[in-house]
């Protein structure tokens, strides 16, 4: 029977070189998507049964990671993320799941968006949301 895990404990590591070891501190929300794959419509005049025919596309989208963290401009990795987005520099992101085996996905890609969240003066946190898109296949380790 499959085990169940709480969501708390995700780790995101980021660096300018492959195999990052430094974590992004104060990670709040994380949304991670393995790239979508589409079906190619192969319906033809001989298609029967009233249902379209299709084959799976050979290529899928690259992975995408959306994260938010409590932003500290003085934090070295926070600044690396910001500067990479600003300059379009390639960065290396590894996300590690909170399961007992610490499953992880390693990527090469770019920070596509960098946005300070709504700054509510009463209960707001200095928080930034970034999105990262891989430029190729990820490396998954269970």
């Amino acid at each position: 029977m499959a085990s169940k895990y709480a969501a708390k404990g995700w780790v995101a590591k980021y660096a300018a070189t492959a195999t990052p070891t430094t974590t992004i501190d104060n990670l709040r929300r994380l949304r991670f998507k393995q790239g979508d794959r589409v079906l190619l419509d192969t319906s033809n005049h001989g298609t029967s049964g009233g249902v379209k025919e299709s084959i799976i596309a050979a290529l899928r989208e690259a992975n995408e990671v959306v994260m938010s963290f409590l932003y500290d401009p003085a934090d070295t990795i926070h600044e690396l993320v910001r500067s990479h987005h600003s300059a379009g520099t390639v960065g290396y992101l590894t996300v590690v799941a909170p399961d007992t085996g610490a499953a992880q996905w390693a990527h090469t890609g770019h920070m596509l968006t960098w946005e300070i969240a709504d700054q509510d003066p009463e209960t707001g946190l200095l928080e930034v949301e970034v999105s990262y898109k891989a430029t190729g296949a990820d490396t998954f380790t269970a």
């Binding site: 780790v11 104060n26 990670l27 994380l30 409590l70 009463e122 209960t123 946190l125």
Partner: protein, 128 residues
């Protein structure tokens, strides 16, 4: 420094507050029949800034301040002075208090005192 201590220090540093209540600023409850007017403050709720890997270092507290006096006017006046002493002001902890609500009045039949409330959201650093 605890949040309660910071609140007490901030309010007693206000000449306008101190002129009315001296040091009659009590956490949670007052001693039996104190001189009026006086202030009681309560921490109602808190929302910690949780992250995936770290213990929460910051928490947002909703703090209720109740201003007690013999007359409605005196209670309302004390509340207004308290609001001016605290709203958007920096506490000794370094955090800024933000007014959340200042429109709640009541009368306590048992104590025969008027009450005017003001609620503040106050961030507070959680000690490691």
């Amino acid at each position: 420094m605890t949040l309660g201590a910071a609140i007490f220090q901030k309010l007693t540093a206000s000449a306008a507050v101190k002129d009315l209540v001296a040091d009659r600023i009590f956490p949670v409850t007052s001693p039996d029949r104190p001189a009026t007017p006086y202030i009681i403050f309560n921490l109602l709720t808190s929302e910690p800034a949780n992250t995936h890997r770290e213990a929460a270092e910051l928490s947002f507290h909703l703090v209720q301040f109740s201003c007690w006096a013999d007359t409605y006017e005196a209670a309302a006046e004390l509340r207004d002075i308290l609001v001016r002493a605290l709203d958007n002001q920096t506490l000794p902890t370094g955090e800024i208090a933000t007014l959340d609500d200042a429109g709640r009045d009541d009368f306590d039949q048992a104590a025969q005192l008027y009450r005017s409330d003001a609620d503040f959201t106050i961030p507070n650093r959680i000690a490691a």
